[in-house]
Amino acid sequence: MTRSGFVIANLFRKRTRTVLTLLSVIMAFLLFGLLQSVNTIFNAGADFVGATRLFVQARVSFTSPLPISMLPKLEAVPGVARVAYQTWFGGVWQTNTPLIMFSLDPQRYRDVYPEWVMPEEQWQAFIHTRTGMIAGKQLADQYHWKVGEKIPINSNIYPQKNGSKAWIFDLVGVFDGKDEDWKKRTNLAFIQQDYFDEANQFGVKGRENFFILKLADSGRAAQVARTVDTMFENSPDETKTQTEKDFNISFVKQIGDIGLIVRWILFAVFFTLLLVVGNTMAQSVRERIPELAVLKTLGFSDGNVLGFVLAEAFALCLFGGLVGLILASMAGAMVQQATGGQFQLTVDYHVWLIGVLAIVVMSVAVGLLPALRARRLRIVDALAGR
């Protein structure tokens, strides 16, 4: 019998116990996988966002608009390659599904966001259709919007000139992300700033929630941000300029410290698991003391015996952990499908990496004490049942 065969055979000498323990471990890692991926959703400061773009907002709050007259001043700042701007539209689909929707200048936005991919003729159509709208792929798929259709959208902020809040836009394009990370963020829609300025009842013209600066060189982000903020200091339109990444982080932090809650739950889960598996291991070593003594009598070293017990713990955690993580991946994909990509529960390689790490730590934590006990056994005492 090989050593690994020996370990597995030992695990299954009490089948019920091993199966039940495995099931507990599987549940723990299923929860672990799902919670970690929730954590990833809120990890908006992800590196792929990069630092080549700066967000300029009103210092008091991004809900306070900034005047379009800032545009030439921002363009003149050294290190700024291109400036785009956008205004929150307050779009609502049907009765009360809020949409992430901005009005903007299509050409400028396209220059600043090369991450969005759309056929050239659709870009041209967006640039040249006043009532045009483009939607991200996820959004278009979710509501079954097709290019060429007229899409009715309400605004919970802006009525049109005739007092109606029911706007109608021509869907002229559907964009996607350039890679996996950006594809996940295509749940938004854009309309033309010129049309919006002209058609809204308040006569709100040229007021922007954000200016987005594309930098010639990301190394100068801090310097450019300082220059911009100094330029508008002590005016009613004081600015706050930060990298896109920082903006995203603060945006997500507004929702609350999700990470904290997740950490508390994971702590509870793993503490419990530690006890469950630890108890199983301790019990199985206790029952086998005479056998372990026989092994030592046969010439297996103390280290060998320690290795056997640790290997058992590792096998339990590894098998249970992997199955749990696989289940989590499948459950995550199901949630994603069911919500049309609005809720991205991806158990990706980050989660797997942390999961495997957790498996190793767990194995050592539950296996070490029983393994040390097995190593310390003195043959005479153990055989005598002392």
Binding site: S61, S64, P236, K253, T280
Partner: protein, 392 residues
């Protein structure tokens, strides 16, 4: 039979300390499930109770039609004056309509545990009637703002969670400096706001009108009269809501999200705990197999054995449940957090561990205990007496 059951259960429980490790697994497992369940729902309960406490039933909030939240709502000065003349609004001590035009804008403050990421805080400009309409709001430090001056009073929740909002601090907004002169407590969502005079807010933020009007209702039919009055006025397109309903309506999404999270987490953790409990109870039965076989040989029946094993599992489960509830209470009751509310601003609220939540947690513990005890109990009752006695 009951006597037999009691006797066996007694023996079992007295031998618990001798096999404490597997028993502890049940207790800790259940404590984990109940603590997580209770804590998550305590968060939801706290948020709901904060918002529910905010609205009065005898006041109405008037927003521009279809705007859902004060943040999206706006009307000009003329409309504001027109609204106050509508029927159904109570008259104040000064003979004028008891109504407050309010301007809601957003300012950013930095959380105490952060260094630079700003969070949205409601800045509410109110008319003098605004204070009269919220009798629950009292100044707990400093004084109230002086109309016409750039002065702020700050809610207790803002003071607790955010930097730079204590009395004497200066908040910079739109190129001007605002002095914090007082703090207030209302025991509701207003604790997450900063207040000032509406006219100062208007001039600083370049807004001429207001976001909403809060009006005291004149008698039980006041709301109906106000609604029909507003509907009959062609110059106005407005939503009139009972203040309590307006705030109560803002809790739905949060409740659903947390409820879903609590449901998924609890179900998965509970399954894990069931497997652990089964494991422990099988182990307990195995350790006691000789003893049980002896009892059976002496003439004890099968059902008392089942009952004793079940009782043991239930006791351990309930013990774990109580422990979990205590942990949730100790760690999270009145734990203060904040999240984004309907107005896209922070709502500060406290976790609330209520007796109902604890009761629900204990029900979960009992159910898990029953499932975890049942199969092992059956096995105990079916132990073949002779082989068990012969075993070493």
């Amino acid at each position: 039979m009951l006597r037999q059951a009691l006797a066996i259960t007694g023996i079992g429980i007295r031998s618990l300390p001798a096999r404490w490790a597997p028993s502890l697994v049940i207790v800790v497992g259940l404590a984990g499930v109940v603590a997580v369940f209770t804590a998550l729902l305590a968060m939801s309960t706290g948020f709901v109770s904060t918002l529910k406490a905010t609205g009065r039933s005898d006041a109405a909030i008037i927003l521009r039609g279809g705007s859902d939240a004060e943040l999206n709502s706006a009307f000009d000065r003329d409309s504001t004056d027109l609204i106050k003349e509508e029927p159904g609004i109570a008259t104040g001590a000064d003979g004028k309509p008891l109504a407050s035009a309010e301007l809601m804008v957003i300012a950013e403050l930095v959380r105490k545990d952060d260094v630079r990421h700003g969070a949205n805080i409601t800045l509410r400009g109110v008319e003098p009637a605004g204070l009269a309409l919220r009798p629950q709001l009292r100044i707990i430090g400093g004084r109230t703002f002086t109309p016409g001056l750039r002065e702020l009073i700050v809610g207790r929740g803002v003071l607790q969670q955010f930097q730079g909002a204590a009395i004497g601090d200066v908040v910079r907004m739109r190129g001007s400096e605002w002095k914090v002169v007082g703090t207030f407590a209302a025991g509701d969502a207003h604790d997450s706001e900063m207040w000032t005079d509406i006219n100062v807010a208007r001039s600083t933020f370049g807004r001429s009108g207001s976001s909403s009007v809060l009006a005291a209702l004149d008698g039980p039919d006041g709301l109906a009269r106000l609604k029909s009055g507003v509907a009959a006025e062609p110059r106005l397109s407005l939503d009139v809501l009972r203040e309590q309903d307006y705030f109560g309506g803002q809790t739905k999404q949060f409740r659903q999200t947390i409820g879903f999270l609590a449901g998924v987490v609890t179900v998965i953790m509970a399954l894990g705990a069931v497997f652990a409990a089964l494991n422990s109870m099988y182990a307990a039965v195995a350790t006691r197999s000789k003893e049980i076989a002896t009892l059976r040989a002496l003439g004890f029946g099968g059902s008392p054995v089942v009952m004793s094993v079940m009782t043991e599992a239930l006791l351990l489960a309930v013990g774990g449940g109580v422990l979990g509830a205590l942990i949730a209470y100790a760690l999270f009751n009145n734990f203060s957090v904040s999240t984004l509310g309907q107005n896209f601003t922070q709502v500060v609220f406290n976790f609330k561990v209520t007796p109902q939540l604890v009761a629900r947690g204990l029900v979960i513990a009992v159910v898990i205990g029953m499932i975890g005890g049942f199969m092992p109990a059956l096995r105990a009752a079916r132990l073949p007496v002779t082989t068990s006695l012969r075993e070493q």
